[in-house]
């Protein structure tokens, strides 16, 4: 149901103008088409494209950049160092056009970066970000977000949701932060005309055939698959590249390394992937996950069991990126089906 009080509309032809305005006041991150469609920092509304199903890279970069300075250091005259922390997020940011699946992934990432030890870099950015989502009405064949209880047309995990209902967008704020932003840019928004609910429902027809798998018992069904040869052929096929993990909106693994210059340097973190052999390789030369099979297995166990055991959620939002971009077409939905149907154990 459209909440009349928190909802507005914006005419399509005013969107660019709004984005221009947002870009002035915020770090505006939005989908841009280059060789591919990816979220990027934009300076003006005209750079933004909304003609895409999902971006290649999820917007996790905006909270957990691929490379991020943890602190800098400088050498002093003796043998010491002076350290200073990496930059805080210097301005409030707006992510425009985030899909409900990617928005959900942030909730999962929060579980990692919050907790006993708080990752100030991630949390700081998270706090300073307003998410403006874009409802999905034309999902891709590879999409299966309903599997994880995600409604691709809902604004559950965003501050504001835009729904394309033809000549205008329905604009719904679902948080205080969202409502505040709507107020601030009230000039661009108009009152509802009344047919919005109906128009939106009509658009939802496109979601009818979406893949929805039953994952209610997947964590339990994974456990016996630890041994056995189900993962052999997947490991065989896997090339050990980082596409699936780097494109995954829920994958959060990173490495930490130093840069050393004459005058000082910095310690940075950067994305890392459990698909890489070096990920678990110890200095002694031992590697607890010595082959592709072990690494593939870790990835799926992490998503469908380990993460669940720790946090009570599955670490997948059904965005389909890993399936869509895997050069050898390893199909996560097939694996879910194999596991949940019991086929995986019987091979």
């Amino acid at each position: 149901m459209v909440d009349q009080t928190k909802s507005r509309i914006i005419e399509k032809n005013r969107l660019t103008e709004l984005l221009d305005k947002l870009a002035q006041d915020y770090h505006l991150i939005a989908p841009v088409r280059d060789n591919n469609v990816s979220f990027r920092r934009v300076e003006s509304g005209s750079e933004v494209t909304l003609d895409y199903i999902n971006t290649v890279l999820s917007p996790k970069n905006a909270f957990f950049p691929q490379t991020e300075t943890l602190f800098r250091f400088s050498r002093d005259d003796s043998r010491g160092f002076r350290t200073e922390p990496g930059a805080e997020a210097d301005r409030e940011q707006v992510i425009f056009g985030i899909r409900p699946c990617d928005a959900r992934s942030l909730r999962l990432m929060d579980m990692v970066f919050n907790g006993q030890y708080k990752d100030s870099y991630y949390l700081d950015r998270r706090e300073k970000t307003t998410l403006i989502g874009l409802a999905c009405f034309d999902p891709a064949e590879t999409c299966f977000c309903p599997t994880f209880g995600i409604d691709p047309a809902s604004g559950e995990d965003v501050d504001i949701l835009l729904s394309d209902i033809g000549d205008r967008y329905l604009v719904e704020a679902s948080t205080e932060k969202g409502a505040a932003l709507l107020d601030r840019f009230a000039e661009f928004f108009a009152e509802l005309r009344g047919d919005e609910e109906q128009l939106r429902e009509a658009r939802k027809a496109g979601l009818a055939g979406m893949k929805k798998l039953d994952v209610s018992a997947i964590a339990d069904k994974m456990a016996p698959l630890y041994e056995g040869d189900y993962w052999d052929s997947i490991g065989m096929k896997c090339l050990g590249c980082g596409i699936c993990t780097y494109l995954c909106p829920t994958c959060h693994c990173f490495d930490i390394a130093d840069v050393s210059l004459d005058e000082g340097g910095e310690r940075f973190r950067c994305w890392d992937s459990c698909m890489f052999p070096e990920f678990t390789l110890m200095a002694s030369g031992e590697n607890p996950r010595p082959n592709r099979k072990a690494r593939v297995q870790q990835r799926f166990f992490h998503k469908f069991k380990y993460f669940h055991d720790r946090n009570g959620e599955l670490a997948c939002v059904g965005c389909g990126r890993c399936l869509r971009y895997c050069p050898v077409n390893i199909d996560i939905t097939q694996i879910i089906e194999d596991v949940t149907s019991g086929k995986a154990g019987n091979e």
Partner: protein
Amino acid sequence: MKATSEEVQTSVKKLFEDGSIGHFIGYETGSDSLHVTPCFLKSGQAASRLVWNPLCANNLSKYLLDFKNVEGKVGIMVKGCDSRSVVELLKENQIDRDKVFIVGVPCSGIVDREKLLEVLGISPGEVVAVEDDGDAFLVTIKGGTQRVDKEKVLRGECLVCKYPTPLVYDVLLGEAVSSLPWVGDDYSLIKEQEALSSEEKALHWNREFSQCIRCYACRNICPVCTCTECIFDKKAPRWISKANDVSENLVYHLVRAFHVAGRCIDCGECERACPMNIPLRSLNKKVEKDLLELFDYTAGIDVEQQPPLTTYQLGDLDEFL
């Protein structure tokens, strides 16, 4: 005649039966009708899974490295381009010819999925099958069949393919294809790039390299990237920082282009694998073009041919400025 999936299945089955092979690497239908995926067989029973169609893009030859220590011969399906990487693997002693049984299939072009969808204006779920039909593909979509000109929807490497028929094989299924009618100047795109100013080139590549996420898919899928430990994974010396910035990405891509110089056979797998759509073939093609112009060398043709950068002629070009 082009070989059919059935022919492949029958012949692989027979190879298992007569003991010629103990393993087979081929293709099977993937997650949808526009995808195939590598398929590994240990017996002839499952041979009916095998397919051969214009979607079989993967160069399977790299998987041969995983079968070095198995009992019996490994059968593998290769297209023209794939056979050339087999030649390179043989050249560098990475595989043993006596342990490999090569099933060659002449190929008249592989579909570029994205191009096809764009040309037809459809989504992948609507496609039922894609078949080769001479200079066009027959695309069966829900509710009919469409004929699409190959030139509009072929993969980039297929548009300049000079070796559609495998150069090395134990058995060839289907009729050899000697040349492909659409292949013209292999290097027209490279020449366009070469003609740009340094500033334009730098701008262009800066933008491209800044997109790279260093997932290493281009390296890992590359059939001639066979190092036991890649220099980019080494810690001492550290050639490249894990930090993802343009200059590190530059080092990665240039060194990679150089490392496959004289070995790259333009199977296009790097570019196909790249999720960010970086035009990686452009770098490799550039080197390929120079090796041809400077040293009259083409990779992957002859096992006995000495790699161009390990040899010289007194009369090689000496002008540098």
